[in-house]
Amino acid sequence: MHFAGVDVGSTTTKAAVMDEGLVVVGKSLLATGANVVRAAKTAFEQALQEAGLEEHDVVYVVGTGYGRYKVPFGHAQVTEISCHAKGALRVFPGSRTILDIGGQDTKAIRVSPSGEIIDFSMNDKCAAGTGRFLEACAGVMGLTLEEIGPVSLTSAAPLRITNVCTVFVEQEIMSHISRGRKAQDILRGVHSAIAARSLALMRRVGIEPEVTFTGGVSRNPGMVAALEERLGSKVNVSPLSQYLGCIGAAMFALERAQGAAPPRPLVGELHIVGGH
């Protein structure tokens, strides 16, 4: 028997297929694009393909992420906050504080030793400090998103980036470039600014070790280093970081299919979330 989780994020869509022993047997990641339903379907199909399974082999699917209500084959929807916490605890059971930085969202989650979510906090109405912010910075410097992290790590004299607005930071970077500042110093400053902002969000929920860093931005080594520097301690990062949301969703699928935490139907009219 198999279970699946599909995480439809603002930037990327991820899917994971899991067996009864909580082993991930197939996964996928692709750009969400404009057609959210298609992205969810394709991600699920690709994960099935990697697992060598057919759709009917999967008995329960949980959708998560902003597009969770756009997973037409999903049996239930769970927010990415619950899913990321669950996925992070699966990989790092000692996690007490989880920082997730995605394409447009940053969230800090504090969990109890038994895995309950005690508190969470998210960025509001502003993409500063998210993947989009880094993308804007990479763009103005003529680098790819993959390049900026490693480049930032070579800096010996980081600059201070004061702007926290995704739009206006471009102007600040341009002014540094025009003054002949080094790319690595600018980028180290950018990463450090995001780390400071993330730390403020984490403080809102209370920082307790171990800290686990998840989401697409956790794949950036410059961001991991900046965060560790600000925190003064190591953070957990997994090569599966980007998949922890869909892994958590697959775990919820397993639980619900087995009736451990029976899904309670939501009552009342449902407003469908627009295509994110």
Binding site: V78, I81, I118, F120, M122, K125, R204, V267, H271
Partner: protein, 420 residues
């Protein structure tokens, strides 16, 4: 077959009728030669103006009504075109937008005021709002400087200071209307206020029942109209009799605001009027009932024992003016919410922070910390606005609300030994 409901929606329907009558009376104020005073809700001393024969209008209520009738957006933009910043309170900009179109609102036309009374000084923006109206209409503005209630009781000096200002207001009213102050008349009005206040508290108290027959936020914001706008009238007393009859019927029939009450919460902050239904649905889906709320206490903290007292009319108006929710210190507000959680057996605190109102949003981050860390009461803080439709992001709100109740559901399951 069950007998038909006799009182269903009496609270909402009657409220609508009373509001319509009030707007109609205001629309005819000039031809009836009735003087009109503009007041704010928080700490409004409407009984005093009633005793002088004034009709009282509330630009705040007008703005609220524009919000709920989805007329606020273009009015706010009009004020911004005039130069009002995006950071200025949405109620103010809504009203400025209305003034620029001769006060024609979806509810009718508000008449020109004869007197402006800024009766709440806890909000600097409100002072500026009435200063602007005073200039626009060229009518006298009376400023009541109401001292903030800090930690304990109201000091004697604060009381004397407020009473002396009320005596000045009385003198102004005498001048504007040409009528002498009728102390007995005021006392008679205040006796009716106290009666309605008793009944309003009985309404609120019904939410201690499990399940609760009312939502003390999403429904109380309609039920509060009586206590905020119609105090001192028999109509107001009768209104609460009707609301109580409706609630009694609900209890008898086992009806409540949601099909199955799964979570009980205390709500802090005003509602997002332009998206009121959508906001309520986000909670209803989870079987959430608000069993207590702070916003319906802006017009007076009667549930703490506060009452208008006909035997000491002016002093009692002063005491009332000071004891409105947003005129209390943050410590007192926090203690009140903690008491609400315990008394109304709530599972959590939900804070709806609005960009427009600093009187509310100041300190809400601290409340969140205090409740989560100090009191171990699960707390959710979400943000939008009370008047400006642009600040309501449904996807983000849904995500936070869903995540919060998912976690709360899980906690309940764990507590019941039902989840791994």
């Amino acid at each position: 077959m069950a007998p038909p409901a006799r009182y269903e929606d009496a609270g909402k329907n009657l409220q609508r009728q009373m509001m319509a009558r009030e707007y109609d009376a205001l629309a005819h104020a000039k031809e009836n030669r009735t003087p009109v005073a503009y007041l704010f809700i928080s700490g409004n001393i409407q009984e005093l103006f009633r005793s002088f024969g004034f009709l009282v209008a509330y630009p705040e209520i007008n703005a609220l009504q524009c919000g709920i009738k989805k007329a606020a957006g273009p009015l706010i933009l009009q004020a911004e075109d005039k130069g009002y910043s995006s950071d200025v309170c949405g109620y103010v900009k809504n009203d400025i937008g209305l003034v620029m179109q001769s006060n024609k609102s979806p509810m009718g036309n508000l008449p020109r005021p004869d007197l402006l009374v800024c009766n709440f000084s806890g909000c600097n923006t409100y002072i500026k709002w009435f200063e602007a109206l005073s200039e626009f209409y060229d009518v006298p503005l009376v400023m009541l400087d109401v001292p903030y209630v800090r930690d304990g009781l109201v000091p004697k000096e604060d009381m004397e200071y407020t009473v002396s200002q009320l005596n000045d207001v009385i003198a102004t009213c005498e001048k504007v209307t040409g009528r002498a102050f009728d102390k007995q008349g005021l006392s008679d009005i205040l006796a009716l206020s106290a009666k309605a206040e008793d009944k309003w508290c009985q309404v609120l108290e019904t939410a201690t029942r499990v399940p609760s027959p009312i939502d003390s936020f999403f429904e109380a914001v309609f039920f509060m109209a009586g206590i905020n706008i119609f105090r001192g009238t028999q109509e107001c007393v009768d209104y609460y009799d009707a609301v109580l009859a409706e609630i009694g019927e609900r209890v008898e029939r086992g009806l409540g605001p949601v099909e199955e009450e799964r979570f009980r919460v205390v709500m802090e902050g005003p509602p997002p009027w332009p998206h009121f239904r959508a906001f309520w649905e986000l909670f209803k889906r989870w079987g959430v009932v608000c069993t207590a709320a702070t916003y319906p206490k802006v017009g007076g903290l009667f549930d703490t024992g506060l009452r208008h007292d006909p035997s000491r009319p002016v002093e009692s108006l002063a005491t009332y003016a000071m004891n409105c929710y947003t005129n209390w210190s943050l410590d007192k507000r926090a203690k009140l919410m903690e008491d609400y959680v315990r008394h109304f057996r709530a599972d959590a605190l939900v804070i709806h922070s609005v960009k427009s109102c600093r009187s509310f949003s100041v300190g809400q981050g601290d409340f969140r910390d205090l409740f989560v860390r100090g009191l171990n009461i699960p707390t959710l803080l979400v943000e939008s606005d009370l008047a400006d439709p642009r600040y309501f992001q449904e996807a983000q709100l849904r995500n936070r609300i869903d995540a919060f109740f998912e976690a709360l559901d899980h906690r309940k399951l764990v507590a019941a030994g039902g989840a791994r």
